[in-house]
Symmetry: C2
Subunit: 246 residues, 2 copies
């Protein structure tokens, strides 16, 4: 079998070996020799405009997606209309893993801004995992990381008070922006207060008040979606020393 370099709709090569996100994405930690073989994995890129769905709960599962540009939220809806945001995803992160188990997506993925993803056909991934030593392990690590992340969110939702939740959220965003070469102290959130609230199990008013409180206390400076972390250590202390409600 020969690896062919796939061509996308917009005529750009979608080669993992040439992507600057390797460090963050599925191929992380793979040997160069293996990496070049990966190029046949990514079929095409797909653009998703702000507010559009990459996939919806109920859609047949066929591929997973690596975010090349932009960001997403995933959420679950209850029959009665209640929404729970289950995560926010940034470049290099993988979307769609929820679909493997039942071959049907179980949540919605919505672009928070105009974004672009690499489409990774799942059957091809399965095949290549059999052949490329490192790919299987990496993929397992990606899934496992998602499980660990989810446990962190459960901790947050189950055992922390409002301000602790927001502090944890801000520190997490900071760390992820930093990993992508952006400032860890200053960044623009892509989601609304309501979406943050849904993720943190709080109402938007509570999120807004917590932001204001942090600003009063000199921990951060906020203006709409623009956040400046003035005292990250202070935020960390907030999480560790404050005793929980539950």
């Amino acid at each position: 079998m020969r690896a062919t370099v796939p061509i996308t709709v917009n005529g750009l090569k979608t080669a993992c070996s040439q992507c600057n996100l390797v460090e963050l994405c599925l191929p992380f930690g793979m040997a160069d020799s293996e990496l070049s073989r990966l190029d046949e994995l990514v079929g095409a890129r797909r653009k998703v405009k702000r507010q559009q769905n990459l996939y919806r709960a109920g859609d047949r599962f066929e591929a997973i997606y690596a975010i090349r540009a932009g960001s997403f939220k995933t959420d679950v809806l209850l029959e009665d209309g209640r929404e729970q945001v289950t995560g926010f995803q940034m470049t290099g992160e993988i979307l769609g893993l929820d679909g493997i188990s039942t071959e049907t997506h179980s949540c919605n993925a919505v672009a928070l801004e105009d974004s672009e993803v690499c489409v990774i056909a799942y059957d091809k991934l399965e095949q290549l995992s059999h052949q490329i030593e490192g790919l299987q392990l990496q993929f397992h690590k990606v899934m496992s990381r998602e499980i660990v992340r989810d446990h962190g969110v459960m901790m947050l939702l189950g055992s922390m008070r409002a301000e602790e939740r927001l502090a944890a959220f801000l520190l997490n965003m900071s760390q992820r922006f930093n990993a992508r070469g952006f400032s860890s102290q200053e960044f623009n959130l892509r989601m609304t207060r309501e979406e943050i609230g849904s993720y943190l199990g709080l109402k938007l008013e509570t999120v807004s008040r917590a932001f204001s409180r942090f600003q009063e206390d000199g921990l951060i400076s906020v203006q709409q979606k623009h956040v400046l972390l003035l005292d990250p250590a202070g935020l960390k202390r907030l999480i560790q020393h404050q005793q929980g409600v539950r």
Copy 2:
């Protein structure tokens, strides 16, 4: 390579092909021809007494575990002592997936009763997944199912009120007992009110009060850990129609 039948400490064969839990466990859905090859996967069984740890956060990750008998809880601890139970596991379910990502376990697994697990060396699983067609897919499905389950817990913690959470918990237990050939209406819980509370993001008093309320309303009959679901449909309605707090 020849498959050898491994012998455990207690002299019993640990063969997936002869295990009555195949329907629920990792081998689910695999062809008979593939199944027999699986027997070399399970190294040994390990007994874990009530209250003992199968593994702890920080332990080096080497194996995943399939529950042969008994049940477990997994939890995460915060520096300040707060505990969040992230799940309860029953026979046929897989423990330890959290360890793959960092090669270190990120949570604790504690037996809720005297239990026994099949030890599946992870490196062997990786190898065999390369060779056995169906094993890789099944393993991916198991991990994906865990992710979907976690999203369900987030929904519960983030968007439901106390009674809804307990109703969802009871229905989930009921369904899982049923899948194991036990009554879906009558069962004995293995965990304390405090552990249920930690899982549901509630205090034990709140859990206890919700149990009492359900009994008053004729939805269930409880006596300590013994539960009888008198009106499962009523519990379901409670989740769907009650409007959430958040």
